[in-house]
């Protein structure tokens, strides 16, 4: 009896924390919806997103077309579902590029210091002085708008901020006692980077990739909206916006329908990354 009471009185807080917070639950639910849309959405809807049917343009929702048809009579639901694939790939690619640039550069500058650090940090500061959407637009200006360019443009607009983040994390980890211990034990620089610093960075990288995925979906859409992203008729969430923009006053519901999946996806990412951040912060304190 006493032992049982002890358990109950010492661990109520931990027990409360174990329960999944509401926003994590909502975030996971919405996230699952997005993942399902990407994975099996086009198959469930089973319509060709490129099939034009001018006679049926601007049709409202029906059993045949769940979300109605667009300005060319194409099925909106299947355009959104296949666009989800393109957008997801673009976001993953862009975040991949940013991570692939930021980790080596952040390690190089944060761990080695010296003139490399000075030069790279200056370049990073310079890029940070230009709002990231402008950097992305600048890249589109060089290569012309396309799927590949969108991936590259977003990736290149995220690396400066990400590099700075990694660098400061590396500087923080470098000064920890266990790094000194590893060095004293005779570990080489490369080994310290590989086994101590990279593992220390893992939570931050996980969090940051999640956060950036949300930004990438938003920026893909913004570029698409400006006509600088994926070009119609190719389906993506951004190009869907570009298409609906021409009819924004006559058929505003098309633009709204095109925007909803973006809101859902990014909200899911934001909720999950925020929950992740709380988790990691709590661990750092303990």
């Amino acid at each position: 009896m006493t032992a049982k009471t002890m358990v109950v009185t010492t661990a109520p807080k931990a027990a409360v924390r174990r329960r999944m917070p509401l926003r994590t639950a909502i975030g996971s639910g919405l996230g699952l919806l997005v993942v399902l849309t990407v994975a099996i959405g086009p198959w469930v809807i089973g319509k060709d997103p490129y099939a034009i049917d001018i006679a049926n343009r601007f049709a409202g929702p029906s059993a045949e077309h769940w979300l109605g048809t667009d300005e060319l009579g194409r099925d909106v639901a299947s355009r959104i579902a296949s666009g989800a694939r393109a957008t997801a790939l673009i976001a993953l690619g862009a975040v991949g590029i940013a991570t692939a640039v930021a980790i080596p550069l952040g390690l190089l500058t944060g761990f080695l210091g010296g003139w490399v650090d000075l030069v790279v940090t200056r370049v990073v500061d310079l890029f940070l002085a230009i709002p990231s959407l402008l950097v992305a637009i600048g890249v589109v200006g060089v290569f012309g708008a396309s799927v590949t360019t969108t991936v590259l443009a977003l990736g290149l607009s995220y690396w400066p901020f990400y590099t700075r983040l990694i660098r400061s994390a590396v500087v923080g980890i470098r000064s920890r006692a266990y790094i000194d211990a590893a060095r004293v034990l005779g570990a080489s620089r490369w080994r310290v980077i590989r086994t101590e610093i990279l593992t220390g960075l893992a939570p931050l990288v996980l969090l940051q990739t999640t956060v950036l995925l949300g930004f990438a979906v938003l920026d893909e859409a913004a570029l698409g909206f400006l006509g600088l992203g994926v070009q119609p008729p190719q389906a993506s969430w951004g190009s869907r916006l570009a298409e609906s923009r021409e009819f924004i006053l006559a058929q505003p519901e098309l633009a709204l329908v095109a925007g909803v999946p973006i809101v859902v996806a990014v909200f899911a990412v934001n909720l999950l990354s925020d929950a992740l951040r709380d988790r990691l912060d709590a661990r750092r304190i303990s």
Binding site: L126, I130, S132, L134, G141, L228, L249, P252, V263, F267
Partner: protein, 314 residues
């Protein structure tokens, strides 16, 4: 103070120089030739050669940069590849519209984000805090064009309270100008509010951990007095810095919002310059937006150092 200000300015100068080099090199990085890129591969070779000469693209890079940058220093940003008009004239024409929209949006955002951020930050972990935090997470997920379309649909198309699109200079018809500003400004203001609210919240959360807060509570001051008089005043320097950072989202947001509402500001130039491959214009816009961002942040740092002299020591 003067020494601090001077050192900050000296730090900003190499950044501005680097920015000018970057925008300059940017145009020259374009694969092939910017003139060919603009006219297309089938452009008349004689015309290409003539334009290359006219824009000085056939001369050594260093001399091109020298001429460009001395022009910039005099306020001459070169000539638009596309319209052949001086870029400075085009941009100066658009500044009033952009400032009007950005200023109004910033006002909207301050009115929403600062109270929300303070309310959330004063009691971290409370129900109000998690409500506001969730609202900012949702707000961050709503793209400006989506929000703008929604507002346009409700307030302009259905309720007919305000015009949906367009711009009238304030001097021509102040009332109409303000009515037209309302929707884009609320859109842009709401779009940047989540960022500002989150930055405000974290500044306030940091401030309430300082020891003067329990001291003020022990003196028996009301929570209202503590939040308005003590916490807000001490969080103010961080808020000013946050405002500087928010300018980046304000710029990015204005590009999209101006496109949505047919607002004839500088943001519209960005997208059209890229579509039209007007590289001289892109070069100028990169320089101006980057310079603006650097300058605003410099000013914010200086204001911060006036509000909190301690930052001068670090």
């Amino acid at each position: 103070m003067l020494r601090y200000a001077l050192s900050r300015v000296l730090l900003a100068l190499p950044l501005l120089f680097g920015l000018s080099v970057l925008s300059f090199i940017y145009v020259r990085l374009i694969p092939g030739d910017p003139i060919v890129a603009m006219l297309g591969v089938n452009g008349n070779p004689a015309l290409v050669a003539r334009l290359r000469e006219q824009f000085g693209l056939d001369r050594p890079l260093l001399s091109q940069y020298g001429e460009w940058i001395t022009g910039v220093a005099r306020g001459d940003l070169g000539v638009s590849f596309r319209s052949q008009m001086p870029i400075s004239t085009i941009i100066v024409d658009r500044i009033p519209a952009t400032l009007q929209l950005a200023g109004a949006a910033l006002l909207v955002s301050l009115l929403i984000a600062i109270p929300a951020g303070v309310a959330a930050g004063m009691r971290p972990g409370s129900r109000l805090d998690s409500l506001i935090t969730s609202a900012t997470l949702f707000g961050l997920a709503v793209p400006a064009f989506f929000l703008g379309t929604l507002l346009m649909l409700v307030f302009a198309v259905n309720l007919r309270l305000v015009p949906s699109q367009g711009y009238v200079p304030f001097a021509d018809d102040p009332m109409q100008s303000l009515r037209l500003t309302l929707l884009p400004a609320v859109t842009l203001g709401l779009a940047i509010s989540p960022y500002l609210a989150r930055l405000t919240r974290s500044a306030v959360v940091e401030t309430i951990q300082e020891s003067f807060v329990p001291f003020a509570q022990a003196k028996g001051l009301t929570p209202r007095k503590i939040s308005m008089g003590y916490v807000l005043r001490n969080a103010l320097p961080s808020l000013v810095a946050a405002l500087g950072v928010t300018v980046a989202s304000l710029i990015a947001g204005s590009i999209v919002v101006e496109a949505l509402f047919n607002w004839p500001g500088m943001g519209r130039l960005v997208a059209s310059a890229v579509v039209e491959r007007d590289y001289a214009m892109i070069e100028a816009l990169l320089l101006i937006y980057g310079g603006l961002f650097i300058t605003v942040n410099l000013v914010c740092e200086l204001v911060q150092s006036v509000l909190d002299p301690r930052v001068r020591l670090t």
